[in-house]
Symmetry: C2
Subunit: 279 residues, 2 copies
């Protein structure tokens, strides 16, 4: 099958490796000629171009640009495609993308592979990136079943675990387990920075260990990524943040009231619930 | 030197291993005869007894009981000690302990080795547990310098990094980097549990990955330990929680106002600050 990949970064490049190794013919598009050449040299794609017309013969196209470029790039892309072409994206927020693209393209299916590394760019691309990882697909009731079957088979061939849901459900789920943790964790670092006794601050820095390391990790991550999450998933994230604040206030009240029995019950419930999310 | 260890759990047992291997004669006290026998069999102590009179000849005594028992056990202990005996404890909160014991014992120095594992009890004790770890000591201006020197040399021999500070400074520092993270992290799990759409909740559970795993880890830990932190370090923890809530509200406001520039600046500052705490 001829498969197009628009955007040759970590995700696009990694898709190329896996799909090409299964015998598909991979057509890559990048805005930079140097990236095109590099993707060919690395073996991630068979052909590459800065010109979207290369994708005219593609049967399936993955849009793998940064999230803010997915819709604008798609709008440039459609003039080059035949109507039968199945288009999907890999953006980490789904509702705004699906709302923008679905009315323009019947064979569009929103997608979100939950895989990545701390690095980015074609050099960071790797084989088997999606193996054993979740991959969300958000077709709607009007999506042709053939398109769903074709995409599902490709995604399954990556070794990913497929989840189907509505775009809004996806966005709420990732706001809980991915976007809310970033804000919770960043607030922890910000609060510590507010300590006014410099001896205490320095002592805290010296004593910080695995508990602080883990809880602060995602709050010390890429700021642009954090802003992107908030920007594209604003509504769901604000809902999660309000619920979080409510739970935080409840804990504060229990400690103020020295209600140790209720605090223990609360901490028992979080201890019991965590394994439902992660081992 | 004859060194007493009151409480033969993870910390007391591990201290025994290291100090005994340096040639000290270790006298252990446990409330259970079976623990005494086990500590001798494992080689953590030279002698052990359920009777505190065994410590009559000890030159230094480490109180290694759970935090709630430190002061009551010390009060039982003093009738058996000579006034020259140096007493220290390993409790994770310092001000309430130092305030209770210092007026009763001139040669008392509060201590807190920042080391541990997820396990507890004499079976969990291990050699070199304190190697390269922080160890806080909180003598005050009236503590005899001889006592400080003797304890410092013992702690240094464990390979620990010693930090001196006031008890209140210690308690504020650990509220930032140890106790606040537990409450922040528990609130995250509790908030996610409040999702009312069961399909979204299940999806969140299926999609949760390393970000959620790390941010939720300490909030899914031992509930009794969490309550203990809140109970004994209540004042400092409430201060940290208020500052945290303030920073969380600021983030929520920036997202509500779609002030992406200010949000990015905030997330840049937390990204920059984190390496001051942990590599």
């Amino acid at each position: 099958m001829k498969i197009g990949i628009l955007g040759l970064g970590l995700i696009g490049g990694s898709l190329g490796y896996d799909l090409r190794s299964q015998g598909h013919h991979i057509l890559g598009i990048s805005r930079r000629e140097s990236t095109c050449q590099r993707a060919i040299a690395l073996g991630s794609v068979n052909e590459a171009s800065v010109n979207m017309s290369l994708l005219a013969t593609a049967e399936v196209v993955f849009i793998c640009t940064p999230i803010g470029l997915i819709v604008p790039q798609f709008k440039q892309l459609i003039e080059h495609l035949s109507a039968a072409t199945i288009v999907t994206d890999v953006g980490s927020v789904k509702a705004p993308i699906v709302q923008a693209i679905s009315p323009l393209w019947q064979n569009f299916i929103g997608g979100h592979p939950m895989a990545g590394t701390a690095d980015s760019g074609i050099e960071a691309a790797q084989r088997d990136l999606f193996l054993g990882r979740p991959y969300v697909l958000t077709p709607d009731t009007t999506t042709p079943t053939t398109a769903i079957s074709v995409l599902e088979e490709i995604v399954r061939s990556l070794g990913a675990n497929i989840y189907y849901c509505q775009p809004e459900q996806h966005d709420r789920a990732v706001s809980w387990i991915s976007h809310l943790p970033v804000m919770v964790s960043a607030s922890l670092i910000a609060a510590c920075m507010d300590e006014t006794d410099l001896e205490v601050l320095q002592l805290a820095q010296n004593l910080a260990s695995s508990g602080f390391r883990d809880t602060s990790r995602v709050g010390g991550g890429n700021p642009e990524l954090g802003v992107m999450m908030a920007q594209y998933n604003r509504q769901a994230l604000l809902g999660s943040l309000q619920e979080y604040r409510h739970n935080l206030d409840e804990l504060i009240n229990l400690i103020e009231q020295e209600n140790w029995k209720a605090l223990e019950t609360k901490l028992q419930s979080t201890q019991q619930a965590r394994p439902d999310f992660v081992e």
